[in-house]
Subunit: 404 residues, 2 copies
């Protein structure tokens, strides 16, 4: 696919004709919406909705407790993990779906304490705040140190041989980390990196194996479309998984949970980082939703994402907007504007859903499976219309969008 | 209500006529089943099924990310917590729905490390195994000690001023702890107890305030009928909550999660023990399911539960079965039998669902809102029929029920 942005609606439509990633019919999106918030909450797929209904009405209500076996509830996490693995460049045994991103970052950073030369946990100050909250509370519990690093300076922190929690794609700016370079620096210094893949997986290129990554956690309700608050996942390289212990050991990470053994014998691979009983309704939606990625690799996703974001960034810049640039971009385009909240509201009134991050950042997310070049072209037309016809006095300060 | 067990089907039916706790119409139970596994997975309520469908098809698929505000997703955990609070003798601000039981036990035991005179974490050896796995892994991470105590000897462990993780009702035997006596011993010795309410809440009497309890965690998918793997909850007494920190701090425990502040400012009350984004589909089912308890207190639940379990225990004993006795029983009746697995299978074939715990324990659970005395009478008739008509040679060893 040609990833240079089309220069007209006509060219956008032409580009859509050669798009092999169009899975729009699989999604239950409202017809009157252009959805640019896949970086926050992915839309529902028809099969996820069907699976939720089936799980509730048949498996739970009719099958009752028998459904742990009969409806395959015990296999859901492994099935979902197996579908995520190829999207991040991992083997199925290196991925396990469990808990929230926050809890998973905690687990992995805790496990890394014994791997790193220095047990200091560092987070760059422009990361998603929860990453720093988790690191600081973990350091307090484990009796070790927490430190912050200025934006984009995590590489320096690695020189001290510590643990860096680092986003593959920054939640605000969409800046993409050079994972190979970071991992090389970590190896050279005895440091460890816990990657946060939340804003990367499902829309950008990821190859954890090629990068030599050891540890990563990610979110499934953004570009993976798992549903609101669907469980997160961890990646643990098979090079190290057998030597690690889950700091929150629970029966779902046990090799034989129903033997009720007093001794904890972990499952092989990443699955040892499972802990408690998973939320089945949410997990079932995720497991179904992931099937939309079947046969698609992250390089293909990234190629289209790059085309969509390049189109949006180019047109936004041509409107005189302050587009945040970086050496490499993930799957959203960030625009700084003091009237950002009002602009997002005006876009929503015209059917273009975007979001806003305090204090001044508009985020437009470009998920490759349900967005076309023509839709992005139209969305940018609508943005241009908003900018030329609206005045944004009412929302200069103090407003905050309560979306995630 | 008379809680002495009826001595005939006729008397059972008569007792059902005076039962003010019958909420059977609220439940979507199959008509051909007597469900005695509420201690493992509670059945679906009609309104939980409706709420799941509504949350998936309307809020997620149509409302998309807007539903965090418009569909009240941000309020679900607090609403559910407020419905659990009166069932455990707590104020709404002392309860927060979050994560799994395992993760919650970890959080509370970690928070207790600074409260207890001695930071040793102790678990009785006949507790649900995950409680010990969690305690041991926490002790390893925090650089403190983990110890086991023989069954029913947790009281002795408190004398050393440590931290005891203790079930209010034992998962296997149904033995009920004397919470007041345990808490008095803890206070006298500078010890802390983390109560596991999983097998108690929703079917037995619980008054954490009267007991002087500080910390508790519990499961919502058993007697609270929240659905498979629905999120757990923590109780933190208002006497101590403001002095505690969540060892896995995350944005959902932050006072203003959408301000994206670098500093972690916890929510007031137990809500500071929230961490990541909750699984909304599972949480929505729980929130709806809990409404069935409206206007019912745990003393009323316990009175009926006591009647149902007394009936079952009396009849099982009269069949010569080895019923596990204890000074006080929770909401299930445990029967030891070397052919337990085969008996449970034979019961299931006759429409009576029970469960089995390796190596030899049949568990019959008696949830008060959807079981009648007449149903329990019939279930025990069927058990008698199974015992007199079947031989149990095929399943003496090596079989294991894969239900939770």
């Amino acid at each position: 696919m040609d990833t240079a942005p089309p220069q007209s609606l006509h060219a956008a439509i032409a580009q859509d004709r050669t798009d092999h990633l169009n899975r729009t019919p699989a999604f239950a999106l409202p017809p009157d919406v252009i959805y640019l918030v896949g970086h926050s909450l992915g839309p529902a797929t028809h099969n996820a909705l069907a699976q939720v209904q089936d799980t509730a009405v048949k498996a739970w209500a009719q099958g009752l407790v028998r459904s742990w076996n009969d409806a395959g509830w015990m296999d859901l996490a492994a099935n979902a993990s197996g579908r995520i693995a190829p999207l991040i460049g991992a083997k199925p045994s290196e991925v396990t779906v469990t808990d929230s991103v926050s809890v998973n970052l905690f687990k992995l950073a805790a496990a890394a304490l014994k791997l790193a030369r220095t047990p200091t946990i560092v987070v760059e100050t422009d990361e998603f705040p929860t990453d720093a909250y988790v690191a600081e509370s973990l350091a307090s519990l484990a009796g070790t140190r927490f430190g912050t690093a200025p934006p984009e300076s995590g590489m320096d922190a690695l020189e001290k041989g510590g643990i860096l929690i680092k986003s593959a794609v920054n939640y605000r700016t969409a800046a993409r980390a050079d994972m190979l370079a970071f991992e090389a620096a970590a190896r050279a210094n005895g440091a460890q990196i816990v990657w946060d893949l939340s804003h990367a997986a499902g829309a950008t290129w990821l190859d954890l194996t090629a990068a030599g990554a050891n540890l990563a956690a990610g979110c499934t309700y953004k570009y993976l479309n798992g549903g609101p608050g669907s469980p997160g996942y961890v990646f643990v390289s098979e090079r190290i998984s057998e030597s690690l212990r889950n700091p929150i050991a629970g029966w779902f990470g046990h090799a034989d949970p129903f033997a009720f053994e007093p001794a904890y014998t972990p499952l092989p691979g990443a699955a040892r980082f499972s802990t408690g009983t998973p939320p089945i309704l949410s997990l079932a939606a995720l497991e179904a939703a992931l099937s939309v990625f079947e046969g698609i690799d992250s390089a293909a996703l990234a190629a289209k994402t790059h085309g969509l974001t390049a189109l949006a960034a180019q047109r936004a810049a041509s409107m005189g907007l302050n587009v945040i640039q970086s050496h490499s971009r993930g799957a959203h385009v960030a625009i700084q504007h003091t009237d950002g909240y009002a602009i997002v509201k005006a876009l929503a009134e015209r059917g273009v859903l975007a979001d806003f991050r305090t204090p001044d950042t508009i985020r437009l997310g470009f998920a490759p499976l349900y967005l076309s070049f023509a839709q992005v072209w139209r969305a940018m037309d609508i943005l241009q219309d908003v900018l030329t016809t609206e005045t944004f006095k009412q929302a200069r300060f103090g407003l905050r969008a309560k979306v995630t």
